[in-house]
């Protein structure tokens, strides 16, 4: 079987004395949703920063479509087909929604007409079709999350890195956004998502990696991982696995 689209091989990242990520390995295949979960402070966003080129790893490799992309700057990765959203949304606040998405669309389309057409299409797909001419800073939290998605999508990526895209949304907003994310896979895009909202992880992800204290401690289907003792301990503390098992008989 061919190598998955994204392969992270033994990546470590040190900040002075702190080893934020410790020999983490994971993979994300095309047209599938892969989740990276773990307690707060586990190093997930650091790992994302390494994969998306915002940080260089202290050790290890990142391979994309068979090529070594370790340490490449973010703009080159984007051109190669890797797009990411940010945990703290970063809209181009002073611009309209349309102009925000346009920045992404221009990556693959030099001409303004062609890029604007892509903006319309992508805007409709994520549900922002009605608000394209509004200033980005007037959007609700849910709208801004969709804008992050739209901008990333407009770059026509092969791999989409979603950093807690569901954070801050209420249950009905989550329910509305989930099918949008699922639709990406239908187009062949690989999705790697950091997520805390467990209901979404369970229903969306086909494969899960669990990161705790910088190390990958478990991997498997969502169900397998949820029952894994090490994972339960990582989230709930030492001895919790036994307690959970005893409580459920």
């Amino acid at each position: 079987m061919a190598e998955p689209l994204l392969v992270v091989d033994g990546v470590s990242r040190r900040f002075g004395g702190l080893l934020a990520v410790n020999a983490a390995s994971l993979s994300a295949p095309a047209a599938r949703i892969t989740a990276l979960i773990g307690p707060n402070g586990a190093g997930k966003t650091t790992l994302f920063a390494v994969i998306s080129g915002f940080l260089k790893p202290s050790a290890g490799l990142v391979r994309f479509a068979g090529e070594d992309i370790t340490g490449e700057p973010p703009y080159r990765l984007a051109r190669g087909g890797i797009a990411r959203t940010f945990q703290i949304v970063q809209p181009f606040a002073g611009l309209t929604v349309r102009d925000n998405i346009l920045v992404g669309a221009h990556l693959r389309h030099r001409a303004r007409e062609a890029a604007l057409a892509v903006v319309e299409e992508v805007g409709r797909e994520v549900g922002l079709g009605d608000v394209l001419d509004r200033p980005a800073h007037t959007l609700t939290v849910s709208g801004r999350k969709r804008l992050e998605l739209a901008r990333a999508l407009a770059t026509e990526p092969k791999l989409l890195l979603l950093d807690e895209v569901l954070a801050g949304l209420n249950p009905s907003e989550i329910r509305d956004i989930v099918p949008v994310v699922r639709a990406f896979c239908a187009r062949g895009i690989a999705v790697l998502m950091i997520e805390h909202v467990m209901q979404a992880v369970m229903s969306l992800a086909e494969h899960v990696f669990v990161l705790a204290e910088g190390r990958i401690i478990a991997t498997g289907s969502p169900q397998e991982v949820a029952a894994d003792a090490a994972v339960i301990e990582a989230y709930l503390g030492h001895g919790a696995a036994t307690k959970v098992r005893n409580a459920h008989g």
């Binding site: 700057p73 703009y75 984007a78 051109r79 181009f92 606040a93 102009d99 920045v103 221009h106 303004r112």
Partner: protein, 331 residues
């Protein structure tokens, strides 16, 4: 084509002025104002659209000016060639300073500081180096013929500077509608987010700096043709760095007409003040400083920006009331 209609109208109105105005004093005022507008439009490309605030744009004004002055006075080069060479030299200086500053990842305050420092270094060097005439400066020989880029009438100079300003307006508009412009504005709004979307921020900023420097250098070259003199304080002095940033900030950063509007307003204020209290040194700059503080405090998007905000607010209300009127008629 309709995208250039506002520019065409504005330029046409300005071009008609010499038909009605014959006073040399007024024409001189307008020529100098347009020259400042040109320098300011240069700053606007980098600072307004790109969000990189340079506090040393005099570096490009002076480089353009000295290049053409030296070529003409010391080497007898044709004035028009000198003009072109001055622009190229300014662009090159922009490439050097920008290359160094952006490669080093300098942003915001640090970028402002380093541009300030470069301008000062150039000023001190120009004030002692023999080739720039040291403390005395350079005089270009009077030769009132078109081929020497000198004219008998003020009106001719006026049309030349107006043409240059028009070109700078067109360049700004072209940038706005191009991919480069979209990327430049993205870098201004949020550099990291832009990079994640495939924008090579360093290259974009550098490109903007080069265009910006070339336009301001053109203003410097024009200065030499109009006044036939240049020295370190005029070419590389802080007055130009300040006026180059002041005019677009007041007029409206990141807009096509901002620098032009700002120059007209600022220079008019300066002249007005002089008429009232007399031509005392420091008066005009003092007013500029006060205006800058007031504009940032109360209208940070400048005049054009404030007008756009008002238009947007009333435009929406107008559109809403139109909608209800239409519905009333239909229903």
């Amino acid at each position: 084509m309709k995208t250039f209609l506002p520019i065409a109208l504005g330029v046409a109105v300005l071009a008609a002025v010499p038909i009605f105005v014959h006073s040399n004093v007024v024409l001189n005022f307008l020529v100098v104002t347009l020259m400042i507008a040109l320098a300011g439009q240069g700053w606007n490309i980098l600072g307004g659209y790109g969000g990189q605030y340079s506090f040393g744009h005099a570096a490009f004004f002076g480089t353009g000016a000295y290049t053409t002055a030296i070529l003409q006075a010391n080497y007898g080069v044709n004035a028009w060639l000198g003009f072109a060479a001055g622009i190229a030299a300014g662009a090159a200086m922009g490439g050097i300073i920008g290359g160094l500053a952006f490669r080093a990842g300098l942003r915001s305050s640090y970028f402002a500081l380093v541009t300030l420092a470069f301008a000062e270094v150039l000023r001190i060097l120009a004030s002692v180096a023999p080739i720039t005439g040291a403390g005395v400066g350079i005089l270009v020989k009077l030769d009132l013929r078109a081929q020497s880029f000198q004219f008998q009438s003020r009106a001719s100079f006026y049309f030349v500077i107006l043409a240059l300003v028009a070109a700078s307006l067109i360049i700004a508009r072209l940038i706005e509608r191009s991919r480069f412009g979209v990327w430049l504005v993205a870098v201004r709004e949020n550099e990291d987010a832009a990079m994640a979307l495939g924008v090579n921020a360093t290259a974009v900023k550098l490109g903007a700096m080069i265009v910006s420097a070339a336009i301001t250098a053109a203003a410097g070259c024009f200065y030499v043709q109009y006044f036939l003199f240049i020295d370190a304080g005029i070419g590389y002095g802080t007055w130009m760095s300040i006026e180059a940033l002041l005019t677009p900030i007041i007029g409206g950063v990141g807009t096509v007409f901002g620098a032009l509007v700002g120059a007209l307003v600022v220079k008019s204020l300066g002249e007005g003040a002089k008429l009232i209290t007399g031509d005392v040194p420091g008066l005009d700059l003092m007013i500029y400083g006060a205006v800058l503080v007031l504009v940032i405090r109360f209208a940070p998007r400048g005049i054009v920006g404030a007008l756009a905000d008002i238009y947007a607010r009333f435009g929406r209300r107008f559109a809403a009331s139109r909608k209800t009127a239409v519905e009333a008629v239909r229903g």
